[in-house]
Subunit: 298 residues, 2 copies
């Protein structure tokens, strides 16, 4: 197994157990709601976002235990967004990561409420996490405010709306990038910035890590589109070509497959250069993760 | 016009303009999402929760301008919960306050996302508000954490699930109270506690105001059930008897109409007594609001 894969597997396990603990510790929650939340949260997946939180915190010298609540919070936000995106009124997906989607198992009402509850819990966990780290008041509050912007109407939720509005329409490369910058990029960028701030990053480090994050987020999305064309259905957990079937604009469709692959390489190189330039940052894991994104097959 | 009604009308206007300002200031949000959020947020309603935030803050000597962001945040949370509750998968309501519900105007996908965005924005606004008030870090964070608990799986969202599970079943008075404590009570209690803490309440004051809030929340719910039996459809904005039609358990159905009315009176008296007992609290408005709840007809 590659070094990066064992790192990701190890950290995914840490995140998984902690997410499980949060679910088990919920007090006075009706059983079907708890089950519905837990079902999607513990369904697996790459755990990319929480791992980015941990890797980013450690890169600037922070402790994993301090970053862990924030890692779990972003995974809850990611999971809530997937549950709501899969709903019949939205993407109407029956499967996610090879398993029936939340509403197929628990019904639409419970799926909507499980999403609501995961989003709400994420903010609670971040406030708990902030009490444990030694950050100035303003900086802690700014993190929560940034979260609200990056995952709300001005970020992720707005991106989902843009995506819905663009469906069935030929969009320009610029529009496609704008959709992804908010729909998937904002949470990825936030994950890395969150880890960095909690880990005690300096302003200049935060700036470079943000650049790394933005390139990584875009590369990740392009690679997702590429895998939808050339991937292995068993590995990606959904039928290959499903974007095309839905008449969705993708990078391979707009740019061609080769140019898309090249762009991923360029973005990853730029991302890595930004991190390498930081003297006091332990860049190994962030470099590994950036490389991993170009070779992953799921 | 009664003194309390003009107070409520005046404060509702203050809250309305501020909510409008928040919506206008949203940056880079797709127009349909912005419209959908604004539609429900500015649809009117009693504005009970934000007014409780303001009244509670002022009662303990706080400034209205400091409490206003928090008042707007709880109204956004309340509005998000109404949008999601009205969805076809949940209560499937076509009208709210006499107007078509959000999903009837903007479609289900947009309604789900507008709710998500309002909830997310609420947390952002509270963090901004906390930067303006002079509170110890821990207390500020504890408020956000309490919000997450009271409106999430352990509170309001859990209450909605309990309500769904109880539908069509005869429930005991104890179960009914438990449903309402989380479904509607938790946000009302949080509104009053939020205003009190932001306004600078002492521990003993906060304790009594919490007792006031819990009684008010219950009285409010019982009165809602009473109005569903005896109210004026034009004033309450939905058909009279709609709870019975849905086979929902209500206080009048379990206790009888007269006993329900008496219970409201008892709860309001207890709530008022708790506030009156506080020496340094300007109780006038809180007493007025408690009385208003028993005489309101919508």
């Amino acid at each position: 197994m590659l070094k990066v894969e064992s790192y990701i597997e190890e950290k995914a396990k840490v995140v998984h157990s902690e997410l499980k603990r949060y679910m088990e510790n919920l007090q006075g929650v009706p059983q079907p709601l708890k089950e519905s939340m837990t079902y999607s949260l513990l369904a697996g997946g790459k755990r990319l976002r929480p791992i980015l939180v941990l890797a980013s915190a450690e890169a600037v010298g922070g402790k994993e235990e301090n970053a862990l609540p924030f890692a779990c919070a972003v995974e809850m936000i990611h999971t809530y967004s997937l549950i709501h995106d899969d709903l019949p009124a939205m993407d109407d997906d029956d499967f996610r990561r090879g398993n029936p989607t939340n509403h197929k198992v628990y019904g639409e009402a419970m799926a909507i409420l499980a999403g609501d509850a995961l989003l709400t819990k994420a903010f609670g966990i971040m406030t708990e996490g902030l009490k444990e780290v030694n950050l100035p008041y303003e900086i802690g509050l700014d993190l929560l405010r940034e979260c609200s912007i990056r995952v709300g109407a001005e970020g992720m939720v707005g991106g989902q709306v843009k995506d819905i509005l663009a469906e069935g329409q030929g969009v320009s490369l610029e529009t496609l990038q704008d959709i992804h910058r908010s729909k998937t990029g904002d949470l990825i960028t936030f994950s890395i910035r969150l880890g960095a701030v909690v880990g005690g990053a300096k302003e200049s480090e935060l700036h470079s890590l943000t650049g790394y994050a933005e390139r990584l987020g875009l590369a990740f999305q392009i690679q997702d589109d590429i895998l939808d064309v050339i991937g292995d259905q068993n590995k990606i957990g959904k039928p290959v070509g499903s974007d095309e079937g839905k008449n969705k604009s993708t990078y391979p469709a707009l740019l061609g497959l080769e140019a898309s692959k090249e762009w991923v390489q360029t973005l990853v190189k730029e991302a890595k250069d930004l991190v390498v330039s930081l003297d006091e940052v332990q860049s190994d894991r962030l470099l590994m993760i950036a490389d991993y994104l170009t070779v992953r097959d799921k």
